[in-house]
Each structure stands twice: as structure tokens, then as C-alpha cells.
């Protein structure tokens, strides 16, 4: 069942307002595959019927299901490896030295998905902790999708998921096996605090951060949205803090307030404010 152009425009705009996600007409199949199950669940015959309902009244519960269904939660442990090596070899030594006074390093993982990224950060911290005995680390993981955050909180992964990115030594060290599932140990789970948060909103409530991971999420937004989000990340970041983007993302054309430290890729520090 294909959508009329006006219907497509209506729902694309709705999703853009809620999630920031840019949907171009050639992505109509995405609406079809992801929203048809929701239409059925709400006893609506098809996608056009769903749009008709939304036009009358966009019920918050329905809107939230649509919003969640439109997110792409693809992630893996130690994605791209390099950022986590940089965290260990460059970022932590510098930041921890600079935080001798406050003894606190705060990390925000702004698109946490099912938890692989915040736990990769937590594992890196645990492996390095002996070098910084006085520093207290805090990790906050946020995502717009509350169901995926529930998975993150549980920290239970399939055999398939733990074989993507995670070195075997770290699997046996930090996970408990339960049949063909693997659960992250409590010691790690307790290191990450999860909160539902939409990047289109103001993150002032979270305070200031020393490191912000915002990886593989800006790619879904249009340039104006990216600019607004990055501006807010900048406002939440310590003057000597770091922003870590995804492997295919860059600040070029989005913000001129950052620079890449020598030898690093996809990692940014603010130019002096």
C-alpha cells in the first residue's frame, strides 16, 4: 500500500519534529516496513489508515511507538576500536591529570542504544582504573528509545552480539553466561546510569561533561538539526573536554567551535571559548 504524497509529507514531518530524522521520499519503504506492524497493532488496516488517525489526533502513546520504530539501533561493542584506544592512551591520561582537584570525570554517551557503547567505555575505564585510583568516573547513557534503553539496563546479549567487537578475554572477564545469552556483570552495570533523552531537547539538566560520545546518530539528521545539537553538546562540554563522533561523521560544515587534536580521528576538543 503506497502513501499519497501529501500523506508521506505529513508523517515525515511528524517524525522529523519528534526524532529529528530526515526522511526523503525514496525512504518510503522504511515507513512501510517499520510502521505497518504498529498499524496492525492499533487495529488500523494499513499505513494510510494510520496517517488518517494521526491527522485527527496524534495520541502520545502512538507517537512514541512510531518514534521508537523509526530509530535504527544498530550498534556493537568497541565500534571502530580506535576511539576506545584513544580514550585509553590519550584522553584519560590528559583529563585525569587535569582533574586532580575535582577527582571526577563525567562521561555522556548520547546515543546509547542497547548499551554496547556505554559498556565498552565502562570496560575501558575498569581496565585503566588502577592508573587513576583517586578519580571517580560517572557514565550517563541516554537514548530517545526507552525500550532499547531497557535492554541496555539489563545488559543481556546474544551470542551473536558478543561476537561483534568484544575481545574474548573481556567477554569472560566481564560477563556471566546464561545458556546462549551473556549478561554484563553487576560491577559494570552499576557504572552506567540510563535516562531517556531526546537529543532535540536541551541537555542542561545533565550538567557538565568531560567526554561526550555522540556516535552514529547525527547522520540521521538534517544540517540545521545537527548544528543545533552540536551547539548544545558544546555548551555541556568542559573547556578541555572531548566529543567523540562516529567513524563517518565530522564537524566540518556543522560547527567551527571544535578542533581535532593531533593524531586523532573523529575526536574533537573545543577551541577556547
Amino acid at each position: 500500500m503506497t502513501l499519497l504524497a501529501a500523506d508521506f509529507e505529513f508523517i515525515a514531518k511528524l517524525i522529523h519534529q519528534k526524532n529529528g530524522l530526515m526522511l526523503t521520499p525514496e525512504k518510503e519503504y522504511l515507513l512501510e516496513t517499520r510502521l505497518s506492524p504498529i498499524a496492525r497493532k492499533w487495529n488500523l488496516s494499513d499505513l494510510p489508515a494510520l496517517v488518517r488517525k494521526l491527522r485527527v489526533f496524534a495520541e502520545p502513546a502512538l507517537l512514541e511507538e512510531i518514534s521508537d520504530a523509526m530509530t535504527t539501533n544498530e550498534t556493537l561493542f568497541f565500534r571502530d576500536l580506535k576511539p576506545f584506544e584513544a580514550l585509553k592512551a590519550e584522553i584519560l591520561p590528559k583529563l585525569c591529570a587535569a582533574r586532580k582537584g575535582t577527582k571526577r570525570v563525567r562521561i555522556w554517551c548520547a546515543a546509547a542504544s542497547s548499551g554496547q557503547e556505554p559498556y565498552s567505555i565502562a570496560i575501558t575505564l575498569l581496565e585503566e582504573k588502577h592508573k587513576y585510583p583517586d578519580i571517580q568516573f560517572e557514565i550517563i547513557g541516554t537514548d530517545i528509545n526507552k525500550d532499547i534503553l531497557k535492554r541496555a539496563e539489563e545488559g543481556i546479549y546474544t551470542q551473536f552480539e558478543v561476537q561483534r567487537g568484544l575481545p574474548i578475554q573481556l567477554l569472560v572477564k566481564y560477563f556471566k553466561q546464561d545458556g546462549d545469552r551473556w549478561q554484563i556483570k553487576d560491577e559494570l552495570r552499576r557504572m552506567v546510569q540510563y535516562k531517556v533523552f531526546n537529543l532535540l531537547q536541551d541537555p542542561a539538566q545533565f550538567g557538565q561533561f568531560d567526554i561526550i560520545f555522540c556516535r552514529n546518530v547525527l547522520i540521521y539528521f538534517d544540517i540545521a538539526t545537527k548544528q543545533k545539537i552540536v551547539e548544545r553538546l558544546h555548551s555541556r562540554l568542559a573547556h578541555d573536554g572531548y566529543v567523540v563522533l562516529g567513524g563517518s561523521e565530522a564537524m566540518l560544515g556543522i560547527s567551527e567551535k571544535f578542533t581535532v587534536p593531533a593524531g586523532l580521528r573523529s575526536i574533537y576538543t573545543p577551541l577556547s571559548k
Partner: protein, 121 residues
């Protein structure tokens, strides 16, 4: 070109694994059990040994112990790939000298991920 020795008594597994490794630009040779693997390793000294656990003649776990006691110009990286998916088996393999471990069923992404972790990609 890096080299890999695929050790599995299942011809099907060897074919699948060969395709994955060749796509990643590895040159491949095959062995059907641990003993045949040892003979080939002594001559070919591969960069990676992709090793099943349960095989006739000599098992993977005995094979890795023997590999680690061989005098080679360069010790290979050993990646287990087996249906033995139990925590205890994994730790046993690691203490006996395995570098990485893949639980079957496996796919190209798992192999690629492990090779990247070992710095071979």
C-alpha cells in the same frame, strides 16, 4: 598476503571459512584434524590458525597446546571456532594458548571482528 590454516573436520565449514578469509585477502590452506594441522604449521608457518575443537585423530585443544610448544620463527594467532560454547571451555582454550574464540554458528562479521581485534586486518 597474510596466510591462514583452516582446521575443521567438516568440509562444509572449511568451504565457508575459506570464502570468508579469501574475501579478506588471506591465502588459505586446510587441514582435517589437529595432527594434519601440526604437520602443515611446521612447514607453512601461517599467520592465523582457525581451529575447530572436536575432530578425529587430534582435537583442537590438544593441537593448540602442541602449537605453543613448537619452535617456530613466528607463533601463529590461534582462533578457535567451535560449537563448544561453554564458559569453562572458553577459559580452558584461553589458558592453553588460544588468542580468540568464536562460538558456532559463525559468520563473516564475527571472523572479521576477531581478526581486527588481533590486529590482522
Amino acid at each position: 598476503m597474510p596466510s591462514c590454516l583452516l582446521v575443521d573436520d567438516s568440509r562444509v565449514v572449511r568451504i565457508v571459512a575459506r570464502k570468508i578469509f579469501e574475501d579478506l585477502h588471506f591465502s588459505c590452506d586446510e587441514a582435517e584434524n589437529g595432527q594434519e594441522a601440526l604437520d602443515k604449521i611446521a612447514v607453512e608457518s601461517p599467520d592465523v590458525v582457525f581451529l575447530d575443537w572436536n575432530m578425529p585423530v587430534m582435537s583442537g585443544i590438544e593441537c593448540v597446546v602442541r602449537i605453543r610448544s613448537m619452535t617456530l620463527f613466528k607463533q601463529p594467532k590461534v582462533i578457535f571456532c567451535t560449537t563448544e560454547n561453554d564458559f569453562g571451555k572458553i577459559t580452558e582454550a584461553l589458558t592453553k594458548g588460544a588468542d580468540e574464540y568464536i562460538m558456532k554458528p559463525f559468520d563473516g562479521d564475527a571472523v572479521k571482528s576477531k581478526l581486527a581485534i588481533l590486529g590482522l586486518l
